[in-house]
Symmetry: D2
Subunit: 317 residues, 4 copies
């Protein structure tokens, strides 16, 4: 049984011993450090708006078992480091996360890895009658650019993504020929609205992380997703995801795998016949729950999926 010191005891570390339990995977740090950086290019300002989470891995056993903080780099100190390292600019989210990984693993002997996540929010320059403004901005779309960088000893894994990229097509989507049994009540649809909030994450080849232009790849993957969504006549949301994935894999050698987790945001044609009206696919009810949930990974042939890259990426769940 657990036997612990009474609360009144002095705050000296001591071991909480267990015959049956042992500490497994663990990581800790400071989450959601909201950081805005302003870069001045003469009078013209450039804005970087990110949300940074830093978590360390290594020899932290005694923090858990003994309450001994000798190895504990406080989460507050991790926060300080995030802001300090941003002093001269953030760069691409992936680059900033990699700098954090380097910093922490080099600074503390017992830190041999960690996880750094960055979300980035987009801003557009406000345009007035005098043109684009030097230092005034309006938030862009609701989509969020993201990255999860993990360091494991000498190995580094970069998985980047986009979430909440909401798209809808009002034609060019069908869903027919699915299993017809007792539990089917849905009719075939030869022309339906297809809508989803794309969550896509893709892993970078660990051997080629250093030379990647992460901004360019992000822009390109995002555009491939939009173009394929628009132009493919879809027979199933699964097929659309496959088409997106194939083109990403074929276009971007630096990408080893891409995963999608996409709701099917149902838009139901409203039955107007009780009111003496037809409804030739013009009036729809946009439903909330339940929703379809379609998830798929597509890998580069011959390159197995790397669990250490993906095990803490919020997808497939």
């Amino acid at each position: 049984m657990v036997d612990h010191a009474p609360e009144a005891a002095s705050a000296q570390p001591y071991e909480i011993v267990s015959e049956h339990a042992e500490l497994g995977f663990n990581q800790y740090g400071k989450a959601e450090n909201r950081l805005v950086h302003v870069r001045r290019d003469g009078d013209v300002h450039h804005l970087t708006d990110v949300n940074v989470t830093s978590q360390l891995r290594g020899d932290f056993t005694h923090v858990h078992t003994h309450g001994d903080n000798a190895h504990c780099v406080a989460t507050d100190s991790q926060k300080n480091t995030v802001y300090s390292l941003a002093r001269d600019g953030v760069g691409a989210p992936e680059e900033f996360a990699l700098r954090l990984a380097d910093h922490f693993t080099r600074s503390y002997d017992w830190v041999n890895g960690g996880r750094w996540e960055v979300e980035q929010y987009s801003w557009d320059r406000i345009v007035t009658e005098n043109g684009p403004h030097d230092h005034s901005f309006v938030r862009g779309g609701k989509e969020v650019r993201r990255t999860v960088v993990q360091r494991d000893g000498e190995a580094t894994f970069v998985v980047s993504g986009v979430t909440d990229l909401t798209v809808l097509k009002s034609s060019g989507s069908a869903f027919v020929g699915f299993v017809d049994d007792t539990y089917r009540t849905l009719a075939d649809a030869t022309d339906r609205i297809m809508a989803t909030d794309v969550t896509a994450w893709w892993s970078y080849d660990p051997d080629h992380v250093s030379g990647v232009d992460f901004d360019a790849t992000y822009d390109s993957v995002r555009q491939i997703i939009l173009s394929q969504f628009a132009e493919l006549h879809s027979l199933a949301l699964q097929q659309t995801l496959w088409a997106m994935a194939v083109r990403v894999i074929e276009t971007h050698e630096e990408v080893t795998e891409i995963r999608f987790s996409c709701p099917n945001n149902h838009h139901f044609t409203v039955d107007l016949s009780p009111f003496g009206q037809d409804n030739p696919n013009v009036v729809f009810f946009a439903a909330d729950r339940p929703y379809g949930k379609i998830e798929a990974s597509v890998t580069r042939k011959g390159v197995p999926s790397e669990p250490r890259a993906w095990n803490t990426v919020p997808a497939f769940a």
Copy 2:
């Protein structure tokens, strides 16, 4: 005391009598009917994505006091009506709300008013290498266009607005010279980030609702807000709101009043000196709570604010 029939009783209306209580203002209906309309212009589709709330006012006393539903137009029926009236198009949110107002007050003798609220979400056409797509769309910014239309007998009140229009300027904002007493710990700031999520609502002159181009006014007011935010050297967020309001009132004769409710989304300069670094307004912490909350109404001179237009508009709260 309340005296009511046991649950086992038959469902016959009966009066719950009170010597001391009387029914006051009331309204009821169906909220958040999510409606998507697709208009086909040849192969080119046009999307209208709205969220419609319908609430009726009139003689509904016996629904409350007796549980007698003879006058009750079911909220489900109001929902049906929303979808039915959208069969041939929605138009501007204000126009759709006005059509609902006309329909309900004309259809039921005992309905003499009501409240219809419409939110509209923006979509952009997806652009591929083949140009703008005919029927595929991506969600635009997170801001929401809104309207609250109220009918009270013969009178009609239209108040329209925008919410979640998030803006930030990285220079051109100061805050100095405020009250200096025991409770002040904030230093003067001659150059700070100013950021807010604009909520603005404006009322239309009830005598000139019929001729208004609501889409054009919306676009213009939104642009005035952005331009004033960008171009005014701000001495206080209050001053910025005043400048926006003045220009709206002076530009749009059809607008009688405009109200703002704006957080001051604080961006604090991070103290990097413990790490041997300066911070010449480049690294900021974007805070969540608490936040400033600045609210102001600006009216057209000589035109008093109309409570019946504003009393259920979600502002100043």
Copy 3:
């Protein structure tokens, strides 16, 4: 037209003049100051967890029109005041808001009113095998106790409420006999689930604010709401609200008016007949949107509703 100094100008106040616009109602302050107070009763701790918003009203015209902050009690200073006044305890939310009202209106000549809102979150003492713990707590239900106190010169208005008090009854609710016309497709229901998230706000008699035991009234009103919801055989949600209101008005002389804004959280009986099953009101789909929205005010006979108490209370919208 607005004519303003260029951004490069020095930060001297100047007037933004308008021939057509004038400043109306305005208030400003610091919103959502998250405050936790710990009171020590020997070893036994008592927790008060609140969210406080402070907004001032008075002569703040020049802040808007001139950017002159001489009268501006910074929102940061208001925040400081909130924490300072909590030093020796918070008390009931209403009492704390009243103390803030007194403080601000007494401290600054040009402040003649304001609005103070307090939300309170409930915590239960953790119970272990050793009994209720002295200083360890678990969050209670999701409902929130709230108050909005407004000061207008010599007058003080207290409106208190509860939000997100979620209730459901699986029997004892019917909805029959409503309007049967073209737009009705809903069948009569003699036994349905009724569920709602109660939002209730009640105003205190301004002449009797000083002697009220706000905690006792809160507990009593909450219990009346629950009991009436449970025990009334409901013919309409409107009737249930009326029954709650009547009993509150009759029980609490200090309450002059009570308002409800309640969704009808629909639970639809699922049609299991395609699967060869009946469904005698046992399996339900809990829908999100749309939902019914039922709003009603009940006043004490002979006491007119007081707009200054209610105009910034978030109800009916």
Copy 4:
């Protein structure tokens, strides 16, 4: 390159071929089926309120690569199945998920696995002056009971948890002796508020799933978490999690591993000295972001963590 049929083409399946891409892990289904079940025990009703997600795995390659839905059990059909299987009761969330697993893998040859997630919301019986009510309920705490059941061929994995179990202790927590370097600005704290929203997930021994009383284990684990939080004098949140885990592992033979993901919800002592006041740990500011994030897994000695149980459980991310 991707080569696809024009949208105008008939909806015949065809292959989107890729030389470089191959389909990896995939699953699909219907998410968040909101299901309420009412069980009648004479006049006394019992409520089960759950949110069910069903996702299938198996041979669905052609749905992706060809848009061929012959194997596709529509997400709508999965929804129907969820409601149909609930006809005679839900039971423990784990039991319901296991029944869904059995049903789907037995009904379709090509379905060899899947993922079923159930969230459960708690309701308390409303108590009136007449005692606990037969069929009227009020929502309990905001915590959510959850389970993720995965089937992989013959193997079945059950991981259950609790999320949003919010706790706070106002004494009995210290944080001292952590790394002191350039990036440390935080002082030692010998007596601080410790608060967190516990997310805990635990896996059941796959060999002993059939005999488990899941309700009893849930109640016991939850109580252990609360008791350990309350009674351990904490030297670090990590230590508290370890103590909770040890006692769960030692008490529950059926549990093979437990994982925690817990924010450190910071409560900062407010500096009241500018206002001439001390603050002996009585007034705190409850911060939102950033927050500490402490994550740890504790396994039973000799039982390795099972990736197939954990790979889609939303923890450590």
